[in-house]
Amino acid sequence: MAKKNRHPDVVFIGQPNCGKSTLFNAVAGLKADTSNFPGTSIKHTHSKVNIEGSIVNIIDLPGTYSLNPSDPAEKVALSHLFHEKPDLVINVVDASILGRSLELTLELMELNYPMIIALNMIDLAKKKGVEIDIKKLEELLGVPVIPTIATRGQGIKEMLEAALQSLEKRLPASPIKWSRDVEQRVEELSNLLPEDFPLVYNKRFTAIHMIEANRLFFDKVLREINPKLKENLDRVRRELEEMHSAPAYEVISAERHHLALKIFEESSRVFRGKRVKFQDRLDDVIMHPFLGYIILLAVFFGFFFIIFKVGSPLEELLLEPLASLRNSLMLKLGANVFSYLIDGLLAGIGGGVAIVLPYFVPLILLMSFLEDVGYLARAGFLMDTFMHRIGLHGKSVSPFILGFGCNVPAIVSTRILESRRDRIITSLLIPFIPCSARTTIILALVAFYLGPVWAFGFYTFNILLIAVLGRVISLFFRTPSPGLILEIPSLKMPSLKNMLKKTIFQMKSFIKFAWPILIAGSIVLGFLQYLHIDRFINLVLSPLVEKGLGLPQELGVTLVFGFLRKELSLLMMLQALGVNYKDLMTVITKEQLLVFTVFINFFIPCLSTVALLWKEMGRRIALLSVGLNTGVAVILSLIARWILGK
């Protein structure tokens, strides 16, 4: 996206939870790519699509509540919107909360770009008893409005047709005027802007954002470069503040708020339906101060039970042919360098398919189910209560939940936290959250050999440990954390198609990024074994591995490689011990298995996590995190050995 090409750019933008990404995915299909914004690690998704013969670049921006963002992640997305001028903006709007969603719409219209509105979740609005007159809304806004239901693929064809039409006409949206006294001040200020002033879009937008801007930063700069303009800006702000007895930025946002509500009232009729009552009642139970926690536990338990019940038979089914293939190959080839390499290759490929995917796929599928239903936010609400007690705070809940999928995006998402204290504590704790790779290991080792209850216990212990660590780390910070503001979206019926799409998307990225590392790692281990270098590494680590943890010496090398990628430890463990998955228990004991899992699970998550921590939080925090993970892994696995050895 950095380079301009002749295909028009179409940007999807909307508030969080409006179904924007679902709509985007429905248009982009499975071809979409994710890449980082230049110079940052914040991801955006983009794709080239063919709409009736015309190729169009579509870009999905992160959800944002307003164009005056308060967190760093939103800022990056918006500065992109400010620099690269899109040819069309598709504003995705949650029809069920039209009044509030229109505030962003009104802000977007101030940009003067060609724009269409996808009025999404129109079915949910109906259920809530909100009936929207589309024609009237179009008339009031002066922008095409297309009703859509992204989860069912409805209205997408119409939306794309409208997009093509808008791209041809290139009619810019024009902002709706505010009340006269505010409008007058804005106009006055925009006329005072000198010709060489660095405009953002247009004079009016620049003037508005000057009034709204955060004083401390912007004002200092302006005072230096144009003191006269600064005087006028101060006067306009003062006048607005005196007239409305509120800070100037609140006067402006109140204008948008009232205008949005007015448009909502003029275009919609609200009937209070029975469905709402049902939804509310369901929410009363889900977020009940007592029942809510029982449900949370049940969901948590059910989650792992299902993954295990689906994963383990699948795993057994896939392992059989792999084992016999490897055995017969070894017999045929004999012990030479070639056979070691081939065996490593097979272990890598087969391990990815037979051990990782059977657990990974149901995990991702269920995760996206919980997300799409809207349960994750509710779990966040419930868990916040608990986290506050142990020195944490609510806004970290969503990075934490993301961490169960993968630690890397979780650390990126700590950018939603405004205070550095919160970011540091959260970033140090995230590497202890069992991501999908570690969940796979817990399931494949602990649940498979010792039973699902053990795995559940392991998981519960892991979460308790995070709580205790959080408490301890926050003792080092004196400043209190700001506090929780978290939107609870309404409960929705998820679409299977969308869940499957997300899962396939994740699977593709697993195959693309993780698998090559698994295969390469296995081949390297095969090579090391052939050259007997693995014995040297094992010998060096043996004081810890053999004496300390009571594990077979051969496992030393797997701990080192696990640093590249967690699943690698699992595959290499089998390779290093020279057994097939099903025969594992013939060479190690249950106690050793548990000690090994404890160490692997709490040790540094993976190279990517450490690299990202380094980049996001600096060297000190990254090294601190490495030390913390290593220390906790060693201490806990020693304790585990001591308890189990009794």
Partner: protein, 81 residues
């Protein structure tokens, strides 16, 4: 005038003002909490947890930490349903 933590649940309240720094005010405004809006306290979490607030004007629900809720000044404008 009371703050949101002192308000009874399930009673319509009007936001009379928001105390606090720019950051918090801007965030609340962006999420649809404006002066004059009608809101309702849904439930109180146990263990001094966050509160769940329904904004009847914009028809959204937001969970607020106690520190934040304390800064929202409201007046009671109706009866318990």
């Amino acid at each position: 005038m009371i703050n949101l933590l002192q308000a009874p649940p399930d009673v319509p309240l009007r936001i009379a003002g928001i105390h606090g720094g720019h950051g918090i005010r801007r965030r609340l405004i962006a999420m649809g909490f404006h002066k004059g809006d009608t809101i309702e306290l849904d439930s109180l979490g146990i263990l001094r947890g966050p509160v769940l607030v329904r904004n009847l004007t914009s028809d959204t629900s937001v969970a607020l930490g106690r520190g934040i809720a304390q800064r929202i000044i409201v007046e009671i404008i109706g009866e318990k349903k």
